[in-house]
Amino acid sequence: MKLKIQRYIKEKEFNTLIEYDVEKKVTTLLEALEYIKQTKDSSLAFESGCRSGVCGSCSVQVDGKATLACSHKLQEDAVVVEPLKNMPLIRDLVVDMTQAYQTTKKAQAWLHLLDKETKITDEDEHINRVQSDCILCGSCYSACPVFAVNKNFLGPFALTRSWKYVADKREAQPAVDVLQTDGIWDCTLCNECTMVCPQEISSKADIEKLRSKSAMMGYSDPNFAANFGGFELSF
């Protein structure tokens, strides 16, 4: 089996797509990367951790689509492996997710105030179950066309995480205020994030839910106001 891997080592001014032969029988892409590192070129850098799809370390682009290396079954030749997009490149397949991680903080995705009276039922738990399955792998940020052009965009996983807390019955102070700028209204609803999520999360759907929740709380689309609100000035 052959793999093409995008290599990048800044201090060596090394930036090329290199083809590797994987002679051993491997199941996953991660095993192939390990094989290459251990037997062919130990300078190849890629992240991994649990090898079971929960730690979120090993997301890369395979043939143009973000995916977890540990969950990607290798079948055919000439797979092209590249680092995630839209994040600063550190080396080879390793990207700097610092900025992406910051978005959940900007979105204040946490429980603000506990409603002590509330009791969560089995049904309530199902409401934000899938959102709380997120492993912060960053695949959705790699896929998101808005994050690509606007680094201030809160982005799919942060908004999913926000919805998780907003939807939580235990939350007495749902925070949607911080999601209005560079947030829910900036999403184009293109659904690219949903297509790549290994946990079957649809950030797009969560963003839509946040929009209606926001509308219910009296917020509206600022882009709409910017486009059509001009004549307010003339009054």
């Binding site: 590192k37 649990c50 946490w110 429980l111």
Partner: protein, 520 residues
């Protein structure tokens, strides 16, 4: 960099310590070699113990824990752990952990091996993931500083007191210092020494134990490594105990059961290991309710498909026991403090003497939270009476520079595999003097030849080979201490099973403690 409390690691033990330490009004930093939500804690599936059920009591939880420990745990610490458990769950619930619920809205609980009652609270099979991420969100809320991609090198002391630590900044291979009034080591376990025969995350290489030991901390009970009975045969990926708890069978080639599946982990692992000499061993879940599997074991279903290409509702799952949990660790007192002033430890790397010879499933996540709170209190009250000291990078930097100078052709990854195989075979489920000695000799030989395992990659930017080599150095050092401890314990107790000393021996019902090369 300067912080009142420096916490090394970012698993659930580190994050909960950070949250409680912040409440004390001190400056807190978390420093980790990964990104924060990537810690091994994310992998915990089964659950977290607390006696909440109607028929369950704290006394029974204590009793089960003590029984499992084979008289090696500290009764007072176990009492404290179990008594604090309901409060710990309540706290996790209050910060938004999405625990699975019963139809009438209580936190759902299931039965894990060695427990008399369903006692493990869970979030489907994502218990660790959801706890870790919720803690992480709270850490953001409290605006606690996190430093990623920093590898712990040395814990620095001055006049028997801790004053900080040095780290390798993985981005540029430079050594950085963090000066601190108290330091909490929360770097996780060491079962990854068993390499491909371990369920653990890549990062569980025992780094924190070695740094603490070198700084003069006592390590204890290192010989006790728990083997999980059911890992996927080829990949050592864990199939949660809840699969057996719900009625899964262990069967041989002929589909015959050969042991009581709900015995403690050490016993079941041994039964499987013995059986594997005669035939393959499988976990059989075919008779379980499909809905139950989809609801409670979705991860396992996915992983069995990916790695073994089987549908576990229809087919037998090939399994083997794999190294899973480090009972031993950095010895701490009731305040989670080590024998070094100002140096604290919590989580899997610490030994609070609650697991003894065999950990009860679900007690580990529990200890992260309960002792996370204690260690924060201890570290904070100590820190309040201290001054900052300056530390330099010189010694740590010299070590790194020296490594870049190594020359020789031994392949690091071959050596890692060699140690892993050696450990599984000689320091695994069944041990005996001659094999332990053989392992020790081999390790000494490797130790003496470490400088021949040279870096192929000499770049400074995110040099992963360098980090893996440093991890390997730590593993070789710790591996020798484990074997020495295993040789010393001439008896069988819990996870430590000596084919040449089959009985438990009262003489040994105390921890094995090692300090600067000597047993205490």
């Amino acid at each position: 960099m300067q912080y009142d409390i420096l916490i090394i690691g970012a698993g659930a033990s580190a994050l909960s310590s950070a949250l409680f330490a912040k409440q004390e009004g001190l400056s807190v930093a978390l420093v980790t070699k990964e990104f924060p939500t990537r810690a091994q804690t994310s992998m915990a599936q089964g659950g977290i113990n607390a006696a909440l059920g109607k028929d369950d009591t704290i006394e029974l939880h204590i009793e089960d824990t003590l029984k499992s420990s084979h008289a090696l745990a500290d009764e007072k610490m176990v009492q404290h752990l179990c008594q604090s458990a309901p409060e710990a769950i309540k706290w996790l619930d209050s910060i938004g952990v999405c625990f699975s619920r019963t139809p009438d809205g209580e936190i759902a609980q299931r039965k894990l091996g060695g427990a008399k009652h369903p006692r493990a609270c869970y979030a489907q099979d994502y218990t660790g993931l959801k706890i870790l991420h919720t803690l992480y969100d709270q850490v953001n809320k409290e605006n606690i500083d996190i430093f990623n991609q920093r590898f712990l090198l040395d814990i620095i002391t001055k006049e028997q007191k801790v004053i900080g630590a040095t780290f390798l900044n993985m981005r540029n291979s430079q050594v950085e210092t963090f000066s601190a009034k108290s330091v909490i080591v929360a770097t996780g376990g060491y079962a990854k020494i068993y390499g491909k025969h371990s369920t653990n995350s890549k990062s569980s290489t025992g780094d924190g134990l070695v740094a603490a030991y070198k700084a003069g901390a006592i390590l204890s009970n290192l010989e006790f490594v728990q083997f999980h009975p059911t890992a996927l045969k080829n990949s050592s990926i864990l199939i949660s105990e809840s699969a057996r708890g719900a009625g899964g069978y262990l069967v041989d080639n002929n589909g015959e059961r050969f042991c009581d599946e709900l015995r403690p982990r050490d016993e079941v692992s041994r039964a499987i290991y013995e059986q594997m000499k005669k035939s393959d061993v499988f976990l059989d879940l075919r008779h379980l309710d499909k809905e139950f599997i989809e609801e409670s074991l979705p991860q396992e279903q996915k992983l069995a498909k990916l790695y073994e290409d089987i549908d576990l509702t229809q087919e037998l799952i090939p399994i083997k026991p794999a190294a899973h949990y480090s009972m031993g660790g950095i010895e701490v007192d009731a305040n989670s403090q080590t024998n070094i002033e100002g140096l604290f430890s919590v989580g899997e790397c610490a030994n609070h003497n609650v697991h003894g010879a065999n950990r009860l499933g679900g007690n580990s996540l529990l200890e992260l939270i309960v002792f996370g709170k204690d260690v924060a209190k201890g570290a904070a009250s100590y820190a309040k009476a201290q001054e900052f000291q300056t530390l330099d990078t010189k010694e740590s930097q010299q070590k790194i520079d020296a490594i870049f100078q190594y020359e020789g052709g031994i392949n690091l990854y071959d050596m890692k595999d060699l140690v892993a195989d050696l450990f599984y075979k000689n320091v695994g489920i069944l041990r005996k003097e001659s094999e332990l000695q053989e392992a020790l000799d081999a390790l000494k030989n490797i130790q003496n030849n470490l400088s021949k395992i040279a870096l192929q990659d000499k770049t400074k930017e995110f040099n992963q080979e360098l980090v893996e080599l440093l991890e390997f150095h730590n593993m070789v050092e710790l591996a020798q201490l484990i074997v020495l401890s295993a040789l010393k314990r001439k008896e069988s107790r819990g996870a430590h099973y000596r084919a040449d000393y089959l009985e438990e021996n009262k003489e040994f019902s105390k921890p094995t403690r090692i300090y600067r090369g000597e047993f205490l």
